[in-house]
Structures are given as C-alpha cells and as structure tokens.
Symmetry: C2
Subunit: 247 residues, 2 copies
C-alpha cells in the first residue's frame, strides 16, 4: 500500500532541487537495483512488486522495503513499463576532488553536457572502458536525473561523479588537457602519454572558452563524410576506445 505522501515524495525526486534537499535519487528495475545494492552507494528504501522478490538480492535489514502493486509502482515510475522495483539511493556527497588525486591517470571530463541520454551513455561507456570517475563542470546535467540513471544501465553504481570548477582543477593538477575540437590533431595520436584530462564540451557550443584556455592538445576524430559533427557521447566513446587500445 502506497500512501499519497509517499507518491508525492518519490515524484518530487524527479526534480533536482528535491534530490539535493533529500540527498536521494531514483533507480528503477530489478537489475539496476541489484547493481546499486552491490555497490558503494547506500540504498535507502525499495518499492517492489511481489514478482520482484525472487529477482532481487538479499536486502539488508536497514533498507526499508515496501511491497506495492503494479498499479502503485506505475504511479511513482517514470518508465512506460515499470520494471518491478524502484529504489531510492543516497547521493554520494563528494567533497571537492583534490587535483592531486587525478595524477597518473586519465580523467573523462565534461564541460556543460546537457542531454540526459548523452550523459547516461557516457557513464555507461566510461564504465565499459574501466574509468572509475567522471569530472563535470557545475553546469553539466545532474548525473542523478532519473533519465541519466536509466541510460547508464546500472553503470552509475560503479562510477563516482564529481562536479567542480574545471579551471581550478586544471590549474592545480598541472596535467595535459586533451580537448575534443573540430580542428585538432587527428586521432590516433602518436602518443597519449600516461595521464591527462579528456575534455568534451556542450552539444551545441562545444568546450567553453574558459576551459579551452587550459587545453594543451586539441584532438579531432577524422571524418571524410558530410556530417558537421559527431554526437558528444559518440565522440567520448571513440576517444575512450582509442586511448584504451593504445595503452
């Protein structure tokens, strides 16, 4: 049985303001819920239909479990076809990352990416290639947006997302910044080195001027066709692939 106040509590979490206030975000589907249960994230409560119980991992006692009907789940789900379980998970409050913690590796860095589907796909792809964290400018879409979470297909559970002023980090870290532009050095690069930020910009406007000032190496995915540009998630994936194939 789902009360009216429970329904409005969950639905409010579709909005960033309430997610920040409550420190919670929504994860849907038994598969994703299991991935968060196995992760470093803390699950606060789970709403699930009777059919979900055989599919969910053993649920620790401190997690509140609400059994609901399919019709009730529909009322709090954003999916056209709700997938048996919906969890509220704690937003991992990350203090500002110490720039030194990035030394010796490559950091995928997003500067104003806006589309939740792109953001989710980038997180899923970064997880595939073994990245463990993503650095985002403050105006990048919220990674805990339900559409982002859905598009990550569970990969968010294995990823740490930092939001910070990129310029400050770039300045302190003193590492190469590889920026994706339309007029850079064509991939594959002769050498990638051993560390650096891989910077991708906004869907329409690309990398901001403020970030571009810190770019030490402009890179470009060579194309011979007619398209003016590539989707940002596609660019991120090709760069991640190229980097991982060459190391």
């Amino acid at each position: 049985m789902l009360s009216k106040s429970q329904i409005s509590f969950v639905n409010a979490l579709h909005h960033k303001k309430y997610r920040k206030e409550q420190g919670l975000f929504i994860v849907e589907g038994t598969k994703s819920v299991n991935e968060f249960l196995r992760s470093g994230y803390i699950t606060d409560r789970i709403f699930c239909t009777p059919s979900a119980s055989s599919k969910l991992d053993k649920i620790p006692q401190y997690i509140k479990l609400h059994e609901v009907t399919e019709a009730e789940l529909q009322k709090i789900s954003l999916l056209n076809t709700p997938q048996e379980a919906l969890a509220l998970v704690r937003i991992a409050e990350k203090t500002r990352p110490a720039a030194e913690s990035f030394k010796g590796r490559f950091i995928l860095t997003l500067d104003g990416v806006q589309d939740p589907g792109n953001m989710g796909t980038i997180i899923r792809t970064a997880d595939w290639f073994g990245f463990r964290d993503i650095l985002c400018s403050p105006d990048t879409v919220d990674a805990y947006n339900p559409k982002v979470v859905q598009a990550t297909m569970g990969s968010l559970s294995r990823m740490t997302i930092f939001y910070a002023e990129l310029g400050e980090i770039f300045e302190t870290a003193q590492m190469p910044v590889y920026g994706a532009f339309l007029d850079g050095a064509p991939l594959p690069l002769e050498r990638w080195g051993t560390e650096g930020f891989i910077l991708l910009g906004n869907e329409g406007n690309g990398i901001s001027d403020a970030s571009a000032r810190h770019v030490t190496q402009k890179i470009t995915i060579p194309g011979t066709g007619g398209a003016e540009s590539l989707n940002v998630a596609i660019s991120a994936a090709i760069i991640c692939y190229d980097l991982s194939a060459r190391r």
Copy 2:
C-alpha cells in the same frame, strides 16, 4: 494560414503507415531543410515562418511554400521549440539492392535496431565516416520516423537506407560478415580486408539467430570495466572509427 486538413495531414505523417501511404516524411529546422534541398531527395512542400526566409536556400518553383505563423508551426511540429521551417520530403523508394552493388566496400548493416535515437545517431555517425548507405533488416526502426530524422541532424539527406531480408543479401553477396558480439575477436583486428558487412543487432537481444548463421567473423570491443554491454550506436561508432583508421 494553415487549414485543419493540412494540420491533420502533417500530423498523420508521424505514423509509419501514413508515411508509406503518402510517400512523404517530415524534416524540421531551417538547417536540415536546406540540407535536404541540396540533396538527391525531393522536397514536396515547406511550411515556414516569415523569419525563415532569410535562412533558407533558394526554393525551386515546383516546391509548394506555405508561410505560417509560429503558433501554426507549433501545431504540426514535434519539437518543443519548432525551428522556423518544416518540410515534407519524398521517401526515396529503393528497389531491393543488388547484392553485387555492395562488392568492394564495407556496408553498415542493422539487424532489428529499435530505438529512433540510436538509429538517428548511427546514420549521423556513418555519414561522418563517409559511409553512403545503410542496410537494415525489415524489423529495424523506420529511418523516416521523425525522431530518427531529427537525430540524424541532416545526415539522412546524404545517406541511402535499404530495408531487405539480410540473409538473402548475405548469401548472394558472398562477402565477409563481421558481427558485433560480446565474445568475438577483440578490436583492433589484425586485418579488415577490403569489403564486408558490419552487422549490429537489436538493443536487448543482439544479432538474430537467422543473421548470426551468416557471420564469418565475430568481433568485440574490448572492455575492462563493469558494464555488461555498450549501447548499439556507440558500438557502431567505435567499429566505424576502427575500420576507417586502419584503411
């Protein structure tokens, strides 16, 4: 001035059945409309606001031009913010492709891809890498779906899309079929050869059994992280990149 019957005529084209009946599909935005005007596709009519006229190419006399208000454009647009122009363009009726026409090159081939966003992104990416056509199984999402057209960002205007039974084509063409699986030979391949089909499957179920029988080389994008799979448009992009970087 837009009549009620014009509004329902355009809105009916959101559905595949009516697109097939009328042989028309919708293209939105001055930039995309211009790209179709410059392409081999035939534009039938254009609805545009007064502000669009300075942005559109010279429009041949045989194309019907309807000037509309922004409010009228909103009634036929699928976009939250209509972009000054909406064209109805003729579906290029392709006869079944002769398998021999594929000899000597690589053909991007989709087996049951369902999501319009993925399909549109694949067309845009294929255009970037200079592919000129895409071969699709009959159950692949319709390339003239307005959401697909939008996601191609104009690239559809430079691309021919064939829908055909893949098995028959594979059998007649007698070319290598490279299929994207989770357990294939890791990219980069030692050698790609000079021709072949690059086969990608459905978002949830992958390549169908019927198509898998024709695969001569299973390929995989190597990953070291936790994600179970990559999005199909991401996989297509990485394979296109790898192929184009190695030729």
